[in-house]
């Protein structure tokens, strides 16, 4: 079947959202939906326009037992069973010991080429800011680093983030108080660099957390996030 015809796409998308597509046809449609952005757009339209039919529906509230079960499932994960040193740098988040070690190792590798030597010849990492961002499932996704007095921010993406062609990722510093600060556009995979005006100290000295949002390519970089954050994590001083 040729799914390139817009009428067919629309017919399937509308019946999928309505609920009359079922069985094998439904499963096949969902498989196609994963990779087909035109099909996704058709489904987006029908979900946006048709689902408000359900607005007037209402019943009595369920038993409190339901909330108890939901709450138990979304509770934050317990602190990683990891040496206190890691937790001091990166706070309490559900990270396995192996993943934590791997991420730290990668973080060090990222800034290792710039190793300084102290007066007595010992190597030490130059004074830097390091950020470690996770996705909503707690998976390590992005490493950020910047020399304290530098104006370059290095980014390394640990697991690629899926974006539509019309989307970009924007990096934000979340200060202790006040609105998020835009640091710039970052890649969704591989490595990247942002050049900032001023030093990273000026940007990050009072920024305990970093976050990433998905924004419209045509509009970004934006002065304030329009979308909710897809990545988030602590930013720490490496000295």
């Amino acid at each position: 079947m040729n799914y390139d015809r817009p009428e067919l796409r629309d017919a399937l998308a509308s019946e999928y959202v309505l609920g009359t597509l079922h069985g094998r046809a439904r499963r096949r449609f969902e498989r196609l939906l994963k990779d087909d952005s035109k099909l996704q757009a058709a489904v987006d339209f029908w979900q946006r326009e048709l689902v408000p039919m359900a607005g007037p529906l209402s019943v009595a509230a369920p038993s409190p037992r339901l909330w108890t079960r939901i709450e138990a499932r979304v509770k934050p994960q317990h602190a990683a069973a990891q040496p206190g040193w890691f937790e001091r740098w990166f706070g309490v988040r559900g990270l396995s010991g192996l993943a934590a070690g791997l991420v730290l190792g990668l973080g060090v590798m990222l800034i290792a080429p710039q190793m300084d030597r102290t007066a007595d010849g010992e190597q030490q990492l130059p004074q830097s800011y390091a950020g470690f961002l996770q996705d909503t499932q707690g998976r390590p996704t992005m490493l950020i680093s910047s020399l304290r007095r530098g104006n370059i921010v290095d980014i390394k993406v640990l697991q690629p983030i899926e974006l539509r062609p019309d989307q970009v990722l924007q990096l934000w510093g979340l200060p202790k108080e006040g609105a998020p600060l835009s640091l710039g556009i970052v890649p969704a995979q591989g490595k990247g660099r942002i050049t900032i005006t001023g030093t990273s100290e000026q940007w990050l000295a009072n920024v305990p957390e970093l976050a990433v949002s998905i924004e419209d390519r045509a509009l970004a970089p934006l002065p304030a996030p329009t979308a909710t954050f897809v990545l988030r994590g602590p930013c720490a001083k490496f000295w």
């Binding site: 009359t20 946006r48 339901l66 909503t136 329009t226």
Partner: protein, 195 residues
């Protein structure tokens, strides 16, 4: 009914806080929306305990996906209802056990009135009153502009989750006829909704 625009705005704000992992906001979001989402799921699944199970999945899904929600994509309440509906549809369409089909009988069982009259009678019933209470003006208007049979078929499919076969049994029509009512109805909705 309370100010819907205000309520929508609150849901949007709560959702933004949920994305930032604010558990108190998540409870508030739950309290503000559970009656609607439970209604959607219960109407589709019929069984109250099955509905609660699926609703649990829906709210966990809302928690997990909140960071991916963009106000540019959809209204907050629409987004929540889509998730609840999708979970219920997944449950309904994946199950091998047949859900009991409730076949409503018209007031005049022995009446030999033609199909359209019978459908028109039903159209004056509860589903019609639901449609009249739809907030989205354009959607309401577009649904009202359909033929009664098309509107009825679409409403039964949407609200009660009837398959084509169940629609045929309920409306006492051949399978091909109800499929055509759904198809033509949706085809007519599209240009109307695009405005």
């Amino acid at each position: 009914m309370s100010d819907r625009t205000g309520a929508q705005h609150d849901v949007g704000q709560l959702l933004a806080r949920v994305a930032l992992r604010d558990q108190a906001a998540f409870k508030q979001l739950y309290d503000a929306t559970v009656r609607c989402l439970l209604a959607i799921v219960t109407r589709l699944l019929r069984d109250p305990s099955w509905a609660e199970e699926v609703l649990q999945e829906a709210y966990v899904g809302i928690w997990n996906s909140a960071p991916n929600y963009s106000p540019l994509k959809a209204q907050p309440m629409t987004w929540l209802m889509t998730i609840a509906r999708h979970k219920a549809m997944d449950a309904l369409r994946s199950t091998t056990s047949e859900r009991e089909t409730v076949v409503r009988r018209s007031a005049n069982e022995d009446d030999e009135d033609d199909t359209l009259t019978r459908v028109a009678d039903e159209a004056a019933g509860p589903l019609q009153s639901l449609i009249e209470r739809i907030d989205a003006v354009r959607l309401r208007h577009c649904l009202q502009s359909l033929d009664p049979a098309q509107r009825q078929a679409i409403a039964l499919a949407f609200y009660d989750g009837l398959t084509h076969s169940e629609l045929a049994a309920h409306m006492r029509q051949p399978l091909g006829t109800v499929k055509a009512w759904v198809r033509r109805g949706l085809e007519r909705l599209k240009p109307c909704l695009k405005g």
